[in-house]
Symmetry: C2
Subunit: 285 residues, 2 copies
């Protein structure tokens, strides 16, 4: 995992060397290199490993997905959205560069992400085209952006379990799922395998979210003296609030073993991917 994380960090550092405007590039790099787990690139590289494909072939696609993830955080933190002053212990983009530059830095990262893929000479034009279809579909108005709107609306009401799944499916799930799909395209896998990868990717996204919801509650039990989980405070619908803590854990464990079986069935070099699967449900933050 840390090898793959290092690889993507290193590549991202090489971007934006010849600015048209310094302020814009500085603002984009500020958020792009602000840390984070780089979970999406690591998922993509680990899935490539499953098929014995060169990580190099996935480098620019992984960077593109991370650029899209970064833009979504910049826009999400804006005063008109979640109005957050800090992220990962650092000031948010608009707090440092102003709202106008932050909006444009997000727009720049999003637009440039597609340039990363369309100019990737390690891939055929057929692959580039398919990757851009997959990623723009996952990130756009049928994917992540729709999820953001659904999430904003969800804050004002109690959701059913199905509604909650739909919100997460789009808001966070689509961009996680697409990492698996992209790896399949880059590793030239047949359609049937890519469909399997999409299902595995959906499970990863869901596991990630259920675990987040559990952590929000258990974190507050463990660290006595701190306020209760922020989700409870905000009366937000979560897997824990809808299913109860024990049922949420059972659902997570069941999904975990289903996903493990699906990965095994692909009969590849699965060590890295299985380690990630474990990491997602065992992490404590």
């Amino acid at each position: 995992m840390s090898d793959y994380k290092g690889r993507i960090e290193q590549y991202l550092e090489t971007l934006y060397q010849n600015p048209v405007d310094d302020t814009l590039d500085t603002a984009m790099m500020y958020s792009l290199l602000a840390g984070g787990k780089r979970i999406r690139p690591v998922l993509l590289f680990s899935t490539l490993e499953l098929f014995g494909a060169e990580p190099e072939k996935g480098l620019r696609t992984a960077a593109a997905i991370e650029m899209i993830h970064t833009y979504s955080l910049i826009h999400d933190d804006l005063p008109a959205m979640d109005n957050d002053d800090y992220r990962r212990g650092k000031m948010t983009n608009h707090k440092v560069y102003g709202e106008d530059v932050a909006i444009l830095a997000g727009d720049g990262l999003l637009t440039d992400s597609f340039y990363q893929i369309s100019t990737d000479e390690n891939l055929s034009t057929e692959q580039r085209s398919r990757l851009i279809t997959a990623i723009s579909g996952a990130a756009g108005s049928r994917g992540m952006v729709a999820g953001q709107v659904l999430d904003m609306k969800a804050e004002k009401k109690q959701l059913t379990l199905d509604e909650l799944k739909t919100v997460h499916h789009h808001k966070t799930g689509d961009l996680i799922r697409v990492c698996f799909e992209c790896a399949g395209i880059i590793a030239d896998q047949p359609e049937a395998v890519i469909r399997q990868l999409v299902t595995i990717g959906r499970h990863f996204g869901l596991l990630f979210q259920i675990k987040d919801d559990i952590l929000d509650v258990e974190g507050s039990f463990e660290e006595m003296g701190k306020s209760a989980g922020s989700d409870i405070e905000n009366a937000k619908s979560t897997y824990v609030s809808l299913l109860g803590l024990e049922n949420a854990k059972s659902a997570m464990n069941e999904l975990y073993s289903d996903t493990e079986k699906m990965i095994d069935a692909l009969q590849g070099e699965s060590a890295a991917l299985l380690e990630l699967l474990q990491f997602i449900i065992k992490r404590d933050k």
Copy 2:
């Protein structure tokens, strides 16, 4: 011109039929169908006509460019940017749907624009890849988005003529220029012709801007009783403020006849493109 305008309008109306979220789609369509001259699609279609290429082949690319133009207007109108309440006589997106939805509607249109091209079955994957490279390059942090940042900074100082040209080159020029470049790619033209088209496209962008600056001043002379041109009011650097009105007009006329010659040299069906060239410098608004 009105034939091509109708064609793109008709196509744009077919978009966003199956929303994940109604609010998002309604907000995107509100701005996408808010009128305007559709000058970029018309430029693209007219350049295709020059080479006798089917307009149909350029339809999705033209739509993509118009989606990008629309997203840039939505974000530009935001309170943190130009803070405009009205555009083309209608309320701006954020005035109708709120700032949060407006930011996301812009993000959605931008992301979806690349999906339009990457899924265009009228084009080869080679063409799709090249079109996405050209458009993301023109619209991203080396193009339009950089131009927006430069323009924001320019409001606070006096520019030289070269600086003014750089601002416009990126802020409005790049997306106009890329319409010509895209038409060359779609019509399978050799590199040398595409380079010619890029130069012609740059000239169109520049002509458009000089004429805008002239209109801002002459409008105020014609319509007595109204306040002076808004550029003068804002002490903004323009071609007129830097060159003087008469020199700006000479520069425009000289550029016009150079561009006309370049179009003639391509020896194609140039009627539509020459009509547009005339329209740009003769329009009164």
